[in-house]
Symmetry: C2
Subunit: 337 residues, 2 copies
């Protein structure tokens, strides 16, 4: 009976599913590529009607839809498929919050390749094949594809760092897509934004800034944040999703440089995925550390205490943390002395 | 306020996690590669002690352990890691049910590559780059690495198809690792097993048969099940995990051939991942269809009704289905008329 007891604990399903979970990543990307969620949102709920609109085989559509139903991205009732609420909000091209393009970055072959050998990453404590070299084209793709993911946290951040009508000189450090600076400018019609990033990435930020209507209120500083002259007299310095790429010491040096560019009393705004002190909650903050282990030599998902410590080591006042829910990011604000 | 409502439904976390879930597959494989679960089982519960035994960096071990904790494969309490029950049973090398080697097959670069473009698979209704060519070396790797996954269903199948002491001539069709035939031979000391598979795969089945002590009670038929002479006069024909590679018509032809090799009243034993009629439950049966879409031109996860229909079309009596729990597979038995 001992063997029997052992067997009953030996449910291998969860392990199989985890080890084949790349199929989930690629199936979800495949559905986005096929505009499957958009077609279902528009009323195609049968295999035949979805297949016709996706220009795909009924067999393939049936397998994909059932697979996505098991994973909760679709519903299925009496043979008719429907969208889960988050799928409807975020993966229907006709939804204003559509973010399907993020699949292009998350499942980019260059990104997936970094996880070929996680044992080696763990032995080494970080990536050897990282993406922090100047003008690495991956960041252009990041800026292009990932922008929709940051519209929500950027729009929530804006009113916490600026007051409409009060002139503000705003530095957007490693601006990427530029959304954090752009949303500040949208919220405050007299804010002026300086986007800093590598020049190939700045093209994307500038495109977005023009498209979103802040022409004439932005300028750029091309180059590495660690090397360029950031200027001075800023009221606000945005640091969105940047500190996680580096170790603490490097971040303190960068924050000292940013502080020197701020006015006295100026505000540093750090946006990060922040795990709790236990480092295993909340999921998005906690899981983010693996993304940094795979893609940076010494980056990490830092706790609030760690970020506060870096800010104070760089000469800032004590910082304050606030959630950017429903986005899974945290805003940390610290004033220059 | 409409925008606010929209935002509150736009929780992107689940979509991010799905699109990066290849990191879960590779992180779990990385932990298996590092024998991390074995070290934790042996009493290493701190980052420092695990890192020392894995010959890895503390940073890397901390990130990996936290990541696996979020996904439920480890526990964490007061900084000490522990094993979840299924991890302890299945991923500790000192457990008799250790199945860590399956990671080598599930995350094999050749397998992962098949899901590069799921939209193309869905358009086509199956794989173009499939693995069903004669002597494809992937099946040697399958037979080597996946055997631990089939010890449980094979040991449960054996007493349902043979009676100890009653002579039985048993054909193991596309035997692979050979475990289904081997377990019949272990259960019934007077059973004789004929393993059929490509000759490179038969080497693995024969190795396993010798290791597991059934020397002198087995022989082999090398070649494709569709082409070779299967012999005749069998009491039992095992068809473990084979029908899912082909379309129904091909399966009916194969089953007719198998039936011709059986004695009158002989038993066909089909082992499969079988979804319910809704095709979205249970998870293991339902998700299996995606594995076939990605790796075969026209294979599928068949429902019981579909398999019963194929068996009857091939001339078998009505079949009976039984669970192989705790394994997630189903045994379908049908008698030759």
């Amino acid at each position: 009976m001992a063997a029997q007891t052992n067997l009953s604990q030996s449910n291998p399903g969860r392990i199989h599913q985890a080890l084949t979970s790349y199929q989930l990543a690629m199936a979800l990307k495949g559905a986005i590529d096929l505009d499957l969620f958009t077609h279902v949102a528009a009323g195609a709920t049968s295999v035949a009607s979805i297949a016709a609109l996706c220009n795909a085989s009924e067999k393939g559509v049936r397998v994909l839809c059932d697979y996505l139903t098991v994973h909760g991205f679709l519903t299925k009732s009496g043979g008719a498929y429907g969208l889960a609420p988050d799928t409807a909000a975020l993966l229907d091209k006709n939804s204003p919050a559509y973010m399907g393009s993020v699949a292009q970055f998350f499942t980019h072959p260059a990104m997936m390749k970094k996880y070929r050998d996680v044992a080696a990453l763990v032995r080494n404590g970080g990536a050897i094949d990282h993406t922090l070299a100047p003008n690495d084209p991956i960041w252009v793709e990041f800026a292009r594809y990932m922008a929709p993911m940051f519209a929500v946290p950027a729009s929530i951040t804006a009113p916490r760092v600026t007051i409409p009508g009060v002139p503000a000189k705003v530095l957007d450090v490693a601006a990427g897509h530029g959304l954090f600076g752009i949303h500040v400018a949208l919220h405050n019609p007299v804010a002026e934004i300086t986007f800093q990033d590598w020049d190939n990435v700045l093209d994307v930020a500038c495109d977005n800034a023009v498209k979103m209507g802040i022409t004439g209120r932005f300028n750029t500083i091309p180059g590495s944040a660690f090397e360029v002259d950031l200027g001075n007299g800023y009221d606000v310095a945005l640091l969105p999703n940047f500190l996680h790429h580096f170790d603490s010491l490097t971040n303190v040096k960068l924050l000292e440089k940013v502080r020197a560019a701020l006015k006295p009393g100026g505000l540093a705004a750090v946006i990060e995925f922040v795990p709790n002190e236990d480092r295993v909650s909340p999921p998005d903050g906690a899981l983010f550390a693996m993304r940094m282990l795979g893609t940076t030599p010494s980056g990490d998902a830092y706790t609030f205490a760690e970020i506060d410590d870096m800010l104070r080591s760089a000469g800032f006042c004590q910082s304050e943390s606030s959630s950017l829910a429903p986005a899974h990011q945290t805003l940390i604000l610290a004033r220059n002395k």
